[in-house]
């Protein structure tokens, strides 16, 4: 396989060197501090669409109703109809109309995103103050208000990713450029009949 004994020795020496320093090879500068899962835990809160990252705990619409009333209703309305902050409920069937109403029920493609956003950013004046059980419950209540889960639903790390959102398939890829203007120079036609 090797053309000479010496090149075989060189390769062997290289392999040994690799084994001796398995990780240092690709590091150019050796700057930064190695961190384990425990070191990262307090910030490692993201929840993926497949449910990865969901914490232990569980919640129901019934429990969520009270938490919502105390923590959310002042900005989002008693029944999620909106107010100081976004409308969260309703808008079903409105997306293709002249007045699309984009709510959790009508627009959001993943139930896991509801959990993730409440968990990281809500309530606005005290984010990351709710327990996992409370976030599951508020999520359950909002999905219940939107007619997506039943009033006796129990949401946890297993059941939440299985919730199918109505607009799950409503998103498409960027297809720009989607215009093809021509740089007319003389005797051009303005786009409409409006006169200056």
């Amino acid at each position: 396989m090797f053309r000479s004994k010496s090149s075989a020795i060189l390769v062997a020496a290289f392999v040994v060197a690799l084994l001796m320093q398995p990780l240092a090879q690709a590091q150019n500068y050796g700057i930064g501090h190695p961190a384990g899962e425990r070191d990262l835990a307090a910030w490692n809160i993201d929840v993926a669409a497949d449910g990865a990252g969901l914490p232990k705990g569980r919640g129901t619409p019934e429990i969520g109703r009270n938490i919502y009333a105390q923590q959310c209703a002042a900005c989002h309305g008693v029944k999620g109809e909106g107010g100081l902050a976004d409308q969260l409920v309703g808008g079903k069937g409105s997306l293709a109309t002249a007045k699309p109403v984009k709510t959790i029920g009508s627009f959001w493609p993943y139930a896991t995103t509801v959990f993730d956003f409440i968990n990281r950013a809500m309530p606005y004046n005290a984010p990351q103050s709710l327990s996992a059980d409370e976030v599951y419950s508020v999520t359950a209540y909002l999905l219940y208000l939107n007619g997506i889960v039943a009033d006796n639903a129990v949401l946890d790390a297993q059941s939440l990713p299985k919730v199918r959102m109505p607009n799950r398939d409503g998103f498409v890829n960027d297809s720009r450029p989607d215009t093809s203007n021509v740089a007319c120079r003389k005797n051009c036609r303005p786009s409409s009949t409006a006169q200056p």
Binding site: A35, L84, V172
Partner: protein
């Protein structure tokens, strides 16, 4: 003191409304051709001025006090708002740091840089936590790039929606950004082969998150700690922000604290329910990262008024997320004919480009427009073409040709023709 020696009085008389032209025309209260008043020696020429270190951190002249960021209004949650750059007052291509637009989702955190950390983990060989001191030790670069909110000009989808250039186009700035290429840090931690997307997360109380394609992260993304030569300001992400040249502004996550490498996009709130572009058929375009080619005349604009006919230099800005601006055409007759504007060097990759065009106003009503062409040949669209392609509910990424109507009294308004 007569108005001849009081610039503020002259300024008030000359300018309509609160937002002026800046210093350029202060004192120009005489119309062309009227005999000049004899010169007098001003008070500031007869007494020594302010001492050195008058302001240890320099400030504009008090006469420029109207050159400020403005917000369309208050919001119920004051930290979830935006303010606009006064493009009508600016010259050249660099936005002074104190005038760079703002868009926050939950206010401006006041971060102690000694306590700030950047965690890089997920599908990497060596999960690592960096201090600011660590990051500043790494090889750095400086680049001049524009930053534009994808919502900039978003009020124009259903016809003219704003009364001034500052409010129509002011979610736009251009700075020199200094930091570490993200590729340097990613190489340091070692991306696993299955890693394709990176979650970027801020340390603000929104813990703002967006998913970044690994290809962009390795190509030209920066971990920025300095802006226009000094450390970032708190409202722009101090002490560390992501910067993605040519991409919509919200992806350049401010107060950056965490990067997590994953297989799939993370489908965060800001890339599903927000920052997606609704189409007439009810679908929404997702991951519309690129800021397309755009231009606007910044003088004259509705924030100004032309006092008399005669010569003016039309000036404006052009930019594209695709690379460099190749050409800007200007029309002074509502789009019937177009002429090539002069581009001010340097014309930089994904930076604002200043264009200029000499114009002699005959005093008759007309409409001024600019049209940018980028190096790929893409031509800035008409509003009607955008609406035909996307309807009027997509909120973001409106990059149409802007029309300013000049009335016979010199008042300028926002129109669509």
């Amino acid at each position: 003191m007569s108005s001849k020696t009081n610039p503020e009085a002259g300024r008030r008389r000359f300018l309509r409304g609160g937002a002026g032209l800046g210093g350029a025309l202060v004192g120009a209260s005489l119309t062309t051709g009227v005999r000049a008043e004899p010169l007098t020696v001003a008070p500031w020429s007869k007494t020594p001025g302010e001492p050195v270190l008058w302001h240890p951190y320099g400030q504009p002249s008090p006469y420029e006090k109207n050159v400020v960021r403005r917000s369309r209004g208050t919001t119920p949650l004051p930290g979830a708002n935006s303010s606009m750059t006064p493009l009508q007052n600016l010259h050249g291509i660099i936005t002074p740091t104190g005038l760079v637009f703002e868009r926050h989702h939950a206010g401006i955190p006041q971060i102690d840089p000694d306590q700030h950390r950047l965690a890089v983990h997920g599908l990497v060989e060596r999960p690592t936590i960096f201090t600011m001191e660590d990051l500043v030790r790494l090889p750095s670069v400086s680049r001049i790039h524009f930053l534009e909110c994808s919502g900039n000009t978003g009020r124009e989808w259903k016809g003219p929606g704003t009364a001034s250039l500052q409010f129509s186009h002011g979610l736009l700035s251009c700075c020199e950004w200094t930091g570490v290429p993200l590729s340097v840090v990613l190489e340091e931690v070692g991306i696993k082969p299955e890693g394709v997307w990176i979650l970027a997360e801020g340390a603000d109380s929104a813990s703002m998150t967006r998913s970044i394609p690994l290809s962009k992260a390795l190509d030209d993304a920066l971990l920025v700690y300095a802006q226009n030569g000094e450390r970032l300001r708190p409202e722009h992400g101090y002490p560390l922000r992501l910067f993605l040249p040519g991409f919509e502004g919200n992806m350049s996550v401010k107060w950056l604290r965490r990067l997590k490498v994953g297989r799939e996009p993370f489908m965060t709130r800001e890339e599903t329910s927000k920052y997606t572009d609704s189409m007439p058929d009810g679908t929404a375009r997702q991951f519309t990262f690129l800021m397309e080619t755009k231009s606007v005349i910044t003088f004259p604009a509705p924030d100004h008024r032309l006092k008399e006919k005669g010569f003016y230099e039309i000036s404006g800005l052009a930019w594209t997320g695709r690379g460099r601006i190749k050409r800007v055409d200007v029309s002074t007759d509502g789009g019937r004919s177009w002429s090539v504007a002069q581009l001010q060097e340097p014309v930089l990759d994904r930076a604002l480009t200043r264009f200029r065009f000499p114009w002699r106003w005959d005093g008759a009503p007309t409409v001024l427009q600019s049209r940018a062409v980028d190096e790929t040949g893409y031509v800035q669209p008409k509003a009607t073409q955008l609406v035909e392609a996307r309807g009027v509910e997509s909120n973001y990424h409106f990059n149409a040709i802007q029309s300013w109507k000049v009335a016979s009294d010199g008042v300028i308004t926002n129109v669509q023709v």
